[in-house]
């Protein structure tokens, strides 16, 4: 909350700087005979002053927000009495929790040792001092910047160019967030994965047939050594995705073909929004539907015809995932089919082909690269889909080719390994990042290939 207050303060200071900067530009212009004798419009001078005020103070604020807890912790630990000095990191967390509680009043001061009470008092004191110090520093930085911006105002000052340069810099930074995100993703999965592969050999992970990541706490317990063979997970993921694709590709493609080539405008206007609604339903809703409606239905159906269907079968998850992906496939296919030049279509009809022959022999081959690209994107969606499988597929890693059996996928395991407490030194938690790396690489490859294919195709008819 303190940071919010300071942020508001900075904004107010910047607004004031803007006003006085603009005012000074106007007053400078007056003796010269109006603002047309200024280099830039008055508000550019104001903005320049505001920027001079804003940037130094906001940088200091960000620096403070990121560093202050660390500095305060270090200061506190430096001169803490020896009897309560924490030995390990977890002790330190414990101590700080206790101090927090004393400060907030959840623990009364009488119930702790004087040393701890003193430490709590000192912590609070340090925070107060830090806050006031920061307030002073930010205020003076803002004021100095604002005054500097104000002083430099003269009719010759190229305020507009300077302000625009800052704006462009801001735009570039915003555009670069995408790159930073990718870098962040790559770093976050690679670092932890490397740590994981130091404990578990890559070959064991990539080719092992057994997956049981639950390592026991004590080494003498049963199953104390986890097995990290990811093959069952890959097989499970492929199975669910394959089922999903079996549903989504034919239905999606045929819907797109029907809507673009056959349907009357009225039907199209009705069916398209329906498909869009299907696309907009959150995955958690599909997961609920798969787990509580489709899976029990399939199980009962299987029991009626004498088949053993698991209540967490891959089939249920795959079917529902397929339904989820239908609109995705159909909208991508729609785009590429409409991109096929009308002349080819008309030419084929003129030669006496029926509509379906035209679509199958002319339109479809012409649209094929785009459709392949779309299907690849859909596969990457299916592989990375999480909630449906978390809710409807099982947890046990089984190496099976039976879609009626329960199996688990990469994303399910990432979620189960990471929800709850994480220890960043156990292979169990790190395994999730290794799986994440695999997932990222696979989807990245699929996406890159798909985008390539789509791009190449598009250049043919433009």
């Amino acid at each position: 909350m303190q940071a919010t207050n300071l942020l508001i303060l900075i904004l107010v200071m910047a607004a004031i700087a803007y006003l006085i900067g603009r005012g000074r530009a106007l007053s400078v212009a007056q003796p010269l005979g109006g603002i047309r004798h200024l280099h830039s419009l008055p508000y550019y001078y104001g903005m320049r002053a505001a920027i001079w005020c804003f940037i130094p103070s906001i940088s200091l604020l960000i620096l403070w927000v990121t560093l202050d807890e660390n500095v305060i912790t270090a200061l506190l630990l430096a001169d803490i009495p020896a009897e309560i000095k924490p030995a390990t990191e977890s002790d330190q967390n414990l101590l700080f929790n206790q101090l927090e509680n004393i400060i907030s009043g959840a623990i009364s001061v009488e119930r702790v040792t004087p040393a701890i009470a003193a430490a709590a008092e000192r912590l609070e004191g340090l925070r107060q001092t830090g806050y006031w110090l920061m307030l002073a520093v930010i205020c003076s930085a803002g004021a100095l910047g604002g005054i500097w911006g104000w002083l430099k105002i003269s009719p010759r000052l190229r305020a507009r160019q300077q302000v625009e340069k800052v704006f462009v810099a801001f735009l570039i930074i915003c555009a670069s967030v995408a790159i930073l995100t990718t870098v962040g993703i790559v770093f976050s999965v690679i670092f932890e994965s490397v740590r994981f592969f130091n404990k578990v050999p890559v070959a064991d992970f990539a080719f092992g047939l057994e997956w049981s990541p639950q390592t026991a706490i004590r080494s003498d317990q049963v199953g104390s050594s986890g097995a990290f063979g990811a093959v069952p997970l890959f097989v499970g993921t492929m199975m669910v995705s394959a089922i999903a694709m079996l549903v989504a590709v034919p239905v999606g493609l045929m819907s797109a073909i029907y809507l673009t080539e056959y349907a009357k405008p009225r039907v199209r206007a009705l069916a398209k929004p329906m498909l869009e609604i299907l696309a907009g339903i959150p995955t958690v809703v599909y997961g609920f539907f798969a787990a509580l409606t489709v899976a029990p239905y399939l199980r009962d159906l299987g029991a009626n015809i004498g088949l053993q269907v698991s209540s967490e079968s891959a089939l249920a998850a795959g079917l529902v995932m397929g339904v989820m992906i239908i609109p995705f496939v159909s909208s991508l296919a729609d785009d590429v089919i409409t991109a096929v030049p009308r002349a080819m279509y008309d030419g084929s009809l003129a030669l006496g082909a029926t509509q379906s022959e035209t679509i199958i022999r002319v339109v479809f081959p012409a649209a094929l690269p785009g459709i392949v690209g779309g299907v690849l994107l859909a596969v990457s969606r299916a592989v990375g889909e999480t909630m449906i499988v978390v809710m409807a597929a099982g947890l046990a890693a089984k190496l099976t080719a039976n879609p009626l059996d329960s199996l688990t996928t990469v994303t399910v395991q990432i979620v189960t390994l990471l929800v709850g407490d994480q220890e960043f030194d156990s292979p169990k938690t790190l395994a999730a990042f290794a799986l994440g790396l695999m997932l990222f690489l696979v989807t990245l490859c699929l996406n890159v290939i798909a985008l390539r294919v789509v791009k190449k195709y598009r250049e043919q008819y433009d």
Partner: protein, 427 residues
């Protein structure tokens, strides 16, 4: 001549088959559309039939006597005495008076379970508001327990009522209450004002709705300006060079990265590296920002592209700088398209679950959050949590929460469509 005749004969002979194929093809097309629409209809009907019950809740009427001896409370204004008072006792006594023939410890305990744990708080609140009630009696409607609620709601079901954990004795008591008109369904206000709870009858979505609101607020505040600025740069200023290409490739790839990967990013970078607190909307908003940015950038770029070059040229012609052209002319004209794209991005973010599971927004949180730094959960995660709960009553709560979530999504998408229609200009 004979050749020509042969060919036309061949064509004529094949026609019937070809028309049949044509019909088949068309039929498959219709079938796929019907299948998709059917899925949608089944999904909605399933959720509505499962969830509509949750908007009503069973209440039981009990006659409460605020007996000071049972309460062990003689001065209602004495805070300490009040806090220790035995409100459960008066409820137990009231129920025993209603069903005097119930004997035995186990049956009595069973009897107490007719009403929710919340009843004691209701009684306490009553007494707090009107201390003069002490020693008097009144009749109150209190929440029934979730098992009773499920049983009572399913009484008229075709396959017979869902008994669940209720015993035959309890069912008898409920029947007695029904006969006397002391049990009824009322609008479930609690569902909309309460936070999460382990007791289904006390669980509400308000905490999750507020959590979603704060998370989306952070997402919107961060992703809209950044996305618009990035799109503006890429469309209006970016020189054609390696860096720009790299940015474009990155944006396109990020749009297709599975959302769970963003959760891993949040966990490793924000929590593990920057030591941010878990479970808070601020963190959730940051992760969702990174996730929705590509969507917003892509739609904003499309909106900027749709602004005709003549506008820019006219502005340049009268001496505007590139920045003035972008900010004064292109941006306002592209704004409706950008807003629409952002609303759709926000709708996506609202329905997103997987990355938030990674960053601890699955914690069981009873309190409703009041700022972006309070631990919170969001609506889709709440749905996920409830769908995992074993109590039967949570099924209808989950479906009801889904209906609320879908309601919000429909509102947002309608808003986007309306905005596009309303503000869109055709050049």
């Amino acid at each position: 001549m004979t050749d020509k005749k042969n060919i036309s004969e061949l064509v004529a002979a094949g026609l019937a088959k070809r028309y049949r194929r044509e019909k088949m093809f068309r039929f498959w097309g219709i079938l796929s559309i019907v299948f998709s629409v059917l899925c949608l209809v089944v999904l909605f009907t399933d959720i509505i039939t499962k969830g509509s019950g949750a908007f009503q809740q069973t209440y039981i009427q009990i006659d409460i006597t605020y007996d000071p001896d049972i309460l062990e409370l003689y001065d209602p204004l004495d805070g300490k005495q009040f806090a220790l008072a035995n409100f459960d006792g008066v409820i137990r006594q009231s129920l025993q008076q209603r069903f005097p023939d119930v004997q035995g410890r186990r049956d009595k305990r069973e009897l107490k379970k007719l009403v929710s744990l919340d009843a004691a708080f209701v009684v306490a609140e009553r007494l707090k508001d009107q201390p003069s009630l002490l020693g008097k009696s009144e009749s109150l409607w209190v929440l029934a327990d979730d098992d009773i609620d499920t049983y009572y709601k399913s009484l008229d079901d075709r396959e017979g009522p869902f008994t669940g954990r209720t015993t035959e004795k309890t069912q008898g008591w409920v029947q007695e209450l029904v006969d006397r008109g002391e049990i009824e369904l009322r609008f479930n206000r609690e569902f909309f004002v309460r936070g999460d709870s382990r007791e289904p009858e006390l669980a509400g979505i308000w905490g999750a709705v507020k959590g979603s609101f704060f998370t989306l607020l952070v997402t919107l505040v961060l992703s809209f300006p950044i996305g618009v600025a990035a799109a503006l740069y890429l469309e209006e200023f970016a020189p054609k060079n390696k860096w720009t290409d790299l940015i474009e490739v990155n944006i396109n790839n990020l749009a297709a990265v599975p959302s769970i990967i963003f959760g891993l990013l949040g966990l490793a970078i924000f929590i593990n590296f920057f030591q941010m607190p878990r479970s808070v909307p601020l963190l959730g908003g940051l992760v969702l920002t990174l996730m929705t940015l590509p969507t917003i950038i892509i739609s904003s770029r499309a909106a900027i592209k749709a602004v005709p070059p003549s506008i820019r040229e006219a502005a340049w012609g009268i001496g505007a700088s590139p920045m003035q052209v972008a900010l004064h002319h292109v941006l306002p004209l592209a704004m409706p398209g950008m807003l629409t794209g952002s609303i759709i991005g926000m709708a996506q973010a609202l329905g997103e679950t997987a990355p938030l599971l990674m960053i601890g927004m699955v914690a069981f949180i009873v309190d409703t959050p009041s700022s972006i730094t309070d631990p919170a959960t969001v609506l889709p995660v709440q749905i996920f949590l409830w769908s995992d709960s074993p109590e039967r009553a949570f099924v209808e709560k989950t479906s009801a929460a889904i209906m609320v979530l879908l309601g919000f999504l429909i509102i947002m998408n309608t808003l986007a469509v309306w905005l596009r229609k309303r503000l869109e200009k055709r050049w």
